[in-house]
Amino acid sequence: MTAGPQNPGDTAERQGSLSRSLWHRFVRWDLASVSIALALICGVLLVLVPAFRSAYNLRALGFTIAVTGVVALAQVCVLSVGQFNLALTAMGAMIGLLTGWMMQDLGLAYPLAIALGIAFGCLTGAVQGAIIVRTGINPFIVSLALAAAYFGAMLGLSRGASYNQLPPAFVALGRASILGVPLLLVISLVVAAAVTILFQRSVGGRQLLATGANPRAALMSGIATNRMIVTAHILSGGLAGIAAVMLVARLGSAQPSLGSEWLLPSFAAPVLGGTLLTGGRVLVAGTYLGALLLAIIANGLVLFGVSAYWYQTLLGILLLAALAVDRGRQSYVLRNQL
């Protein structure tokens, strides 16, 4: 599929065909833009800021990526069918508080509380998917409305309380390491592997992608598209639950503000990594590279002593720039018929 073999007779083309074909292969690579950005920023930080390499800092990065990655995957599941989940933040806050409440006030064993929390996440996702499919109301509006409803219900029931006396064994999970790698990062990567297998290898995953790529065509091919949409939202809710539990373990407390900053990264990380907003195309590895890029930029700003307030500006500009660059890359590929 490289340029060289396609024009075997053209000797002028052959000259420097190795570097050219490498370039072409690179340009066609979906993760080209995000990889270059990552390499540049990592290079700068490695050279200029010694603290970047410290074990402490790398561990902090690992924790951040672990949570952001799962949050982004929660969005990816819905993006795969071409929809958005704006209720992700509210789901995270609600599940986090619920898990904290079950452990602290009900005294449930933490594995049970975790399982119930994640199951509840699936339930909220199922409600959202069912409303979208059954009523036909614009999915954007449904998730916006449910975000408010979930958040309001959570505040109304908890009265703004937070839970700080969590079981020590549970909090220890958030600090544990396996061979120096944070346990949360290991869990996050296992989740990522499962989601990859789902989309790459399983029939259900392929049907999700087909639904996102072209709902009509998918329906004509005998895929129960409505069921796929509900499934995507259930997966999204479950992953939001996993992310919320991870964050509670990491912070050692459950607060209503949990997840309030998830929304933009949940879109930015997948989009930076080549996942399409319009559905039908999902790149899990790219999503993690995107999450890594976001985490390293936030980390770099802290190391350079820049006010954290500017992070949001940079995040917004970066997202737009990345999208524009990737558009340029795609049109370059199309124009030159690579």
């Binding site: 109301i137 614009n138 509006i141 408010a148 958040f151 309001g152 929304l263 006010s307 500006t313």
Partner: protein
């Protein structure tokens, strides 16, 4: 066609009478407002009082202007998630100019409105030039504007605003809050633009059917940029009048605008799919949202629940929007069917 100046070929202009009949406009929201007001008047003794009416009026004035911004973009078939961010940024720009640089209020307000308009125009430019969805563009710019706001202010409000500026927020005319009148004037101007001015009609045509509009000679890209700039301007306007009323330029202004900016237009009949808007509907929607929040307080219900009710209301409004769209489709299909099967109608059409 009952349009005063048919600027566009018929294909680009939605059949006004059909749309009006089946999209209902503000009537549903207005009925809900009346019912709720009567219930509250009976159930909550303090609801009917001049003080409470003024509180409601100030709240509606601000909310309606925010919702006008979203309404305009929705009518053009887009959306703007950055209304709150632009409102907050403009508020601190105005506050900062007056407090730190001693700029006269009038000039500071002009600067704030310019910032809002430019921010909106940037949104529109990015949507048009990159071909990305308005959703992701405005999600990103919202983050950028909020960061700019917090970076410039370090999260600190501007407290020392000139009295002449604060007076904008507190003047009344025969007991009616001035800001309510200002909001009504803005609404009237928008109604005029969207029903009588070529540019407004073009924006609606783009929202109804961008392809048809383009074939009909409407400058689609320009209309999109203009409507985003208009939304930015209105968001800035809302941020500035809120600052004047509060007497403090807080960086957090606009943080909680997103939900209500969508809720009020949708409750008031503006179509999510674009092409139709109703200015009185937006005002009725804003009034309904405000009455619910106010009613919860009057009935001594925990304000924590407000968001739950807002969420359920917007869901209900989304359902009504869906029913309207289905109804509209059915009518259009029936009319097409009648046209195709009725030789007389076909001859008349030709």
């Amino acid at each position: 066609m009952s349009l005063p100046r048919p600027l566009l070929p018929d294909a680009a202009v939605p059949e006004a009478p059909v749309r009006r009949r089946f999209t209902g406009g503000p009537s549903g929201a207005a009925i809900a407002v009346v019912v709720l007001a009567v219930i509250l008047a009976v159930a909550a003794p303090k609801f009917v009082s001049l003080d409470n009416f003024q509180v409601i009026a100030y709240s509606v004035a601000n909310l309606a202007v925010v919702a006008f911004a979203q309404m305009a973009v929705l009518a053009a078939g887009g959306m703007d998630l950055s209304v709150g961010a632009i409102g907050g940024l403009s508020a601190v720009v105005v506050g900062g100019l007056m407090e730190a640089f001693k700029v006269p209020p009038a000039l500071a307000i002009v600067a704030g409105l310019t910032v809002g308009g430019l921010g909106g125009a940037l949104n529109g430019f990015l949507v048009v030039r990159t071909g990305l969805s308005a959703f992701i563009v405005t999600l990103a710019t919202a983050s950028a504007f909020t960061g700019l706001n917090l970076g410039l202010t370090s999260g600190q409000p501007f407290y020392y605003l000139p009295d002449s500026f604060k007076a904008i927020g507190s003047w009344t005319l025969a007991g009616i809050p001035g800001l309510l009148l200002v909001m009504l004037a803005v609404g009237a101007a928008l109604w005029f633009v969207f029903s009588r001015v070529g540019l407004g009609r073009q924006i609606l045509a783009v929202g109804a059917n961008p392809r048809a509009a383009e074939l009909g000679g409407v400058p689609v890209n320009r209309s999109r940029i203009v409507v985003h700039a208009l939304a930015g301007f209105l968001a800035a306007f809302a941020g500035i009048i809120l600052t004047a009323r509060l007497g403090v330029a807080q960086p957090t202004i606009g943080n909680d605008w997103l939900l209500s900016s969508f809720a009020a237009p949708i409750i008031g009949g503006t179509l999510l799919s674009g092409g139709y808007l109703s200015v009185p509907g937006v005002i009725a929607g804003a009034l309904l949202l405000t009455l619910v929040a106010n009613g919860l307080i009057q009935l001594n219900i925990d304000p924590y629940w407000t968001q739950l009710f807002s969420g359920l209301m917007i869901l209900a409004a989304g359902g009504i929007d869906r029913l309207r769209a289905l109804n509209l489709q059915r009518v259009e299909r029936a009319e097409r069917f009648a046209l195709a099967n009725d030789p007389a109608a076909r001859r008349k059409d030709a």
